[in-house]
Symmetry: C2
Subunit: 480 residues, 2 copies
């Protein structure tokens, strides 16, 4: 394919994509295919000779679309949203064309520098303390990680490395493995599975702190367990707080937890993967109070801030803590400016070496929307969730299972779990909308997450009518 054909095919692809998005609600949100459906639809081997582009494109509808779960359909209410916008997609086309790998400043200065400044822009939108910003006298800065899982892991590893160094400074005879065997990290019992996984990868104990009736970790719960663990000779070193848990969008009480972490010299990382985007609105910003105690903070603009995956924003108060943990300097990656103290080599800030020019997406989205429209977008989703909550509350057969703070409504049929399990099965089998469940305090709960950019009030009403109807059928059948 030469440039001339790319111009033509690119235009066609842009039109295909625009058609797909404009008409997405006509597609069934969840596919009917059975496991293994795809293999028989295509050849067993790659072709020897080139195929025509027409044949490839025809296969999008024949092979791919029947097996797609349409995350951007207004009938998709599962998991949490993944972001999607036209400006982000345009920026991604440019990102692919430049196609640089920004592991060091020299590998493409623009790639590194735009990222640093975009993380400052975003940090200011969230009113992060100045310590976290790069363009200040502070020692902090931001970076794009691929996912919140990686942000949790890299901060846990940095904290592990820091505590080992600290202890060895006083006790040069203690081995690293001996110290690591005594370390203990903490998170909420509601924390995302990736937090527990970070502990497994890092080879450290990870304890889950019991949450209160609002599914929040409180200071006294952490203090209790710290006391026990220290008495047992363990070394607490890391606490991962969650703002907006995956199950119910609950918020750990970081104003209570932060001072404890600081006093104990434990690293406090805050994972606000979903909820973080909302902190650009003044009315939600108080939920981030206590951030001043944190060592690192992360959320996913690729969830709720209209920047296509992947774009997980992470800030640290002391960049030296991250960089120091895993710095490797082979000659082929060295460059003239790196010792100047003026440049950022993001390879030291992350697990992988390679990285795409992802800040272009942030730049396009922030400028094409502007802060006010981004705030309006957050408020619209929260409003839709509140609307759904009101429907649920007005129906005596249902109950709300957790405070509705943002775009997620946790609800269930009153009574035994089997009822709600059965209802969810009917909902997902009907294929009209798509939801996933969670467990909250032993109860089986349905999660209604406002996800798509295309979701409007009429879709939420339609979804509720559908759910109510299925519930009526279910309860009716049980009576007979």
């Amino acid at each position: 394919m030469d440039a001339a054909e790319f111009r033509r095919r690119g235009r066609e692809m842009v039109d295909y994509v625009a058609d797909y998005i404009e008409n997405i609600e006509k597609r069934q949100v969840y596919p009917d295919v059975e496991p293994g459906y795809l293999r028989s639809l295509i050849p067993e081997e790659a072709p020897e000779e080139p195929e025509s582009y027409e044949d490839v494109v025809k296969d999008i509808e024949r092979v791919i679309m029947p097996g797609v779960t349409h995350w951007h359909s207004p009938y998709f209410y599962a998991y949490f949203p993944t972001a999607h916008s036209y400006p982000a997609m345009l920026a991604d086309i440019l990102c692919g064309a430049i196609g640089c790998i920004g592991f060091s400043w020299a590998a493409s200065p623009a790639c590194t520098e735009l990222e640093t400044v975009m993380l400052d822009w975003l940090g200011k939108m969230l009113k992060l303390p100045e310590d976290f910003l790069a363009g200040t006298k502070g020692k902090g800065g931001g970076v794009i990680q691929s996912t919140a899982s990686e942000a949790t892991l890299i901060t846990l590893l940095a904290a592990r490395s820091k505590i080992v160094r600290l202890i060895q400074a006083d006790h040069p005879d203690r081995s690293e493995t001996d110290i690591i065997s005594k370390l203990v990290a903490y998170s909420s019992d509601q924390a995302h599975s990736s937090v527990e996984r970070a502990g497994l990868i890092g080879g450290v104990r990870m304890k889950k702190i019991p949450t209160d009736s609002k599914f929040s970790v409180r200071g006294d719960a952490l203090e209790r367990i710290l006391k026990e663990d220290k008495a047992a000779g363990l070394i607490p070193f890391f606490f991962c707080a969650t703002l907006g848990t995956t199950a119910s969008c609950a918020f750990d009480c970081i104003t209570e937890l932060g001072p404890i972490c600081n006093a104990e010299k434990m690293w406090m990382h805050i994972d606000a993967a979903y909820a973080g985007s909302a902190f650009i609105c003044p009315e939600f910003r108080p939920l981030l109070n206590g951030i001043e105690f944190a060592d690192s903070f992360n959320f996913n603009p690729h969830k709720w801030l209209l920047i296509n995956f992947d774009c997980s924003a992470m800030w640290v108060k002391k960049r030296a803590d991250i960089i120091g943990a895993f710095k490797m300097e082979p000659l082929y990656l060295k460059h003239d400016h790196q010792e100047s103290g003026l440049v950022t080599d993001y390879r030291h800030w992350q697990i992988p070496l390679g990285r795409r020019f992802r800040s272009l997406k942030m730049w396009f989205v922030f400028r094409m929307y502007g802060l006010k429209a981004l705030q309006a977008y957050i408020r619209k989703h929260v409003g839709l969730a509140k609307e759904f909550e009101a429907f649920v509350r007005a129906d005596q057969r249902f109950e709300i299972s957790a405070d509705v703070v943002m775009g997620l409504v946790c609800f269930r049929l009153k009574g035994p779990n089997e009822l709600s399990e059965n209802l969810l099965k009917r909902i997902n089998s009907a294929r009209k909308i798509h939801l996933v469940p969670c467990h909250l305090a032993g109860l089986f709960v349905l999660r209604f997450a406002v996800c798509a950019r295309a979701t409007e009030s009429r879709h939420v009403q339609e979804a509720w009518c559908h759910i109510r109807q299925l519930a009526s059928e279910l309860l009716q059948e049980l009576l007979h």
Copy 2:
């Protein structure tokens, strides 16, 4: 921006991209900017109100391009290539539009299933043993990782988890931390820095095996160190072999190393990040002989197989080894089919949870090129490297520092390192071409890596004339 405007702006962006690529050799390959250049060119904060698209686009040339290192310029010979092709870019537009997150089969069946089949296609192109393929009676399969660094890390962690389970099965009283403190992993002293980093992250010893005069690890070198380590009570558990080292594209002798690893019950991972693409050519496939001894294998189609970053292909012989290491099953990620044994939930195969629909790029590239054209592309790059090698060999002032097997030529000025260091400085200051150095056996060496799709014989000739000219100037000045 609505769909109508996206159609228009998308067309413009496709044209901008086509213009960029068609005219890339007119741009200076390495930028002139100084650290911090970008911050002053743009506002300090995101705008409150939307800006016009024209203003955003104007800033691409004003703000971004002056700071871009043009990896796809035919004057770029640094690092290793990063792949770039029109079909991959078209597929990426589609990937962004579908915008699904394929962490489980249910999250988008097509995303998972196309990936499994594409990894089988690619595995067959490489003539991998059947054990590694998913569509067979074997227990293996492939997955797309973001980078080779992550593939090394995930396999090391899987191996760590496996050896701990094995030892604890016989000695239930031994703690995990005690076992981990005795573990030892190995790699070549030429291995990529990410291999050492994987050891640091995993909290295990990583020893570097000395290489022979060809920069290859040989069986006897590994055997010697294994004997010592076992005598010292250590537990060898993982060996990362490199096929195509970053410094000089050297190949560890896996036909010797594989049987040793198997006999010692050590996990053998093969990292062929750059060189792996060449194994689709029958004449290079013998370099992969010994793969039958490996537990896992990885290379980066996003380096040399025309599939834009990120697309790092990894295969394992026993998928249960990977999945078993870090399986977490929160309710919100469960789905009906997962216990059927028929589906793949790729979240268990990788560090992050989220993942893009990257197999679309493989599908488009394999079909739009066909195997023969991909082979021709590899051969062309190797041919260009051989051409450059011949130029170097014909000039008495220079020497070749390592065998030229693929698209990389390691060379230097005869004599003290200062000469070659000085030459490289002049080359990169002149900005006509861009190279990076390496160390080989104490010598400072220049790496000439054929990188761009646009590189032709005339560019290589031009590069050589330029280098020779700068060398003459340098040597002339030293005489006076």
